[in-house]
Symmetry: D3
Subunit: 128 residues, 6 copies
């Protein structure tokens, strides 16, 4: 592919394992209806944005977890908690970031996010 795609793939390696990365690209559930979506995410989100300076991978993961929890986006909350762990955040730091949102977004979205976090943590444990 092109330079931005390669830069995006390189950046994603800070957030997902090589195995997952290959699977994500080769086995895209939406490829039959939106064949460009995966490419757009890799190039734009990871190639253009995540790859920038000033913040490290753990800080970017905190920012992204905060926004998907605030939006109540369930599948993405699980995805980005997983990526945050891979980038080096501890489970305790992720829980703490979600609790820090409580005075700003209220308990409902915080509770739902912590339920999703506990599912991700349990699944990780099983993989060990």
């Amino acid at each position: 592919m092109n330079e931005r795609f390669n830069k995006g793939m390189e950046t994603m390696r800070q957030y997902v394992s090589e195995e997952e990365l290959q699977q994500m690209v080769s086995n895209d559930a939406l490829a039959h209806i939106a064949p460009d979506l995966r490419k757009l995410i890799v190039e734009y989100a990871y190639g253009d944005i995540y790859s920038r300076g000033e913040l490290d991978a753990k800080e970017r993961a905190l920012v992204v977890i905060s926004t998907v929890v605030t939006q109540g986006a369930a599948p993405q909350t699980k995805t980005h908690i997983k990526r945050g762990l891979y980038a080096g955040l501890t489970e305790a730091q992720i829980v703490e970031a979600i609790l820090q949102l409580a005075p700003y977004i209220g308990f409902p979205r915080v509770q739902n996010a912590l339920t999703l976090a506990s599912e991700v943590f349990a699944a990780q444990q099983q993989n060990v």
Copy 2:
């Protein structure tokens, strides 16, 4: 006041100057209709939540900026950008956190937040 209030005030000192803190408590614009609100924010948000461990003041500021930008909460975006700077984040880090939100919340809220950030940065410059 009580222990939680004192702990909240102590924690707030990581995010606002002593002068601003005194002004906030003594000169509360909502005191005549909701006299308990300021106390609830100091005790609960700062005393119970911000004072917890695992994340430092700069990380908590990043999380809070991300959530208020995601919500499109204009006055709070300005407040928490100011508090983030006081806690030690650089202007470049704050801009970067807001840009990191673009693939997740879209350009409208990112643009509006960067406009507010530029106003905060300009006002800080004048105070120097």
Copy 3:
């Protein structure tokens, strides 16, 4: 007009003074681009919905204030606080309803709503 419109106007009299009601209908700022909007609101919102049973005017006003505050809809927050007062809610009850939202929507929207409430309360005082 028709029966639903008349029922809507009748129902609105529980929330706005006769003077305001006449002004609203005769002096509609959006009439030149959307001449049917006012009619749709009177017929559907007030004629079909507000006029139903089971809840009284004060309870409906509490429900509506809660939803516009949750949405962060500023002009409507002011409008429905005014209508709630006219329907018989006290200032203290309205403040209390907004505070009750804090654990569910967080402080930003609560603070912004209380600021708008204090503006409405001040304007009412001047009219006395």
Copy 4:
């Protein structure tokens, strides 16, 4: 525990049965990752906020149902409809409050909330 926790538990008794209350505290699904969350909810939401005056338990339940329906928070919509019934609201009043939101939040969230309400009502029937 402390005074605020006890006040919160006392206030919760207006919204949940003793049995449910004990279960909620002793059997907290999120206790292993966020052991303080339940305590924060009891102390802050119920001890500090719900326990205040000016509005009674039924009015507070109406306000809370309105906000969680507006946010589209599914698990909390079910929870607070159940608590509203326990506090003395009738099924018809809860349905009516949700319908009152239609002109303000549109049909999608109203339909989804009524579907959840019908599930809660059916489950209650079976418990009789």
Copy 5:
């Protein structure tokens, strides 16, 4: 029923098959708790609004798909993708409208909507 209901039913025929339309009215899952909801939707949404001029059925379907995807309303996203197809939009046009939202609402809601779209498209295929 009345004139608005008939006009609403007539308008709905541009978006749903006769079979589905009859089923929707005769077999309303919410009829036991909110017997007026279906009537309100037919009369107000379809009789008053969809039936207006200036935009054709396909354009209105694009507008409605855009708003329910932006709101993250899952059941309604499926419903209105189905109605858009019935009104004459192609699968490719619907996918394209959802992708056009990406720079404005971010990838999470776009991905979730495309997943729902692929489910609707697959179900349609089976019906052929």
Copy 6:
């Protein structure tokens, strides 16, 4: 600049006049804090997304107006109404698209959007 930027600029010419386009690029209010933002919007939003097939400029403008109105994004609502007019939508079509949202997002955001639309229409008239 690069190919995507050029493609983005070319696509934008369907939505803004040459004069406005030059002003937007040469006179970017956020350039001092986020010098890459304008470039990201041109390349990604216009170069990658708006330039795709299946929908024409007027249809894309309808989709974008619907999403920014749904989000309650005020400055962007004005911007994209202006761009929609430039792309060939009539004032009546834009008003109609906003009214079509009423059963899905409620009156508050519809009213606020129509107020912004009337400001854009009035400003256009003066430029004639």
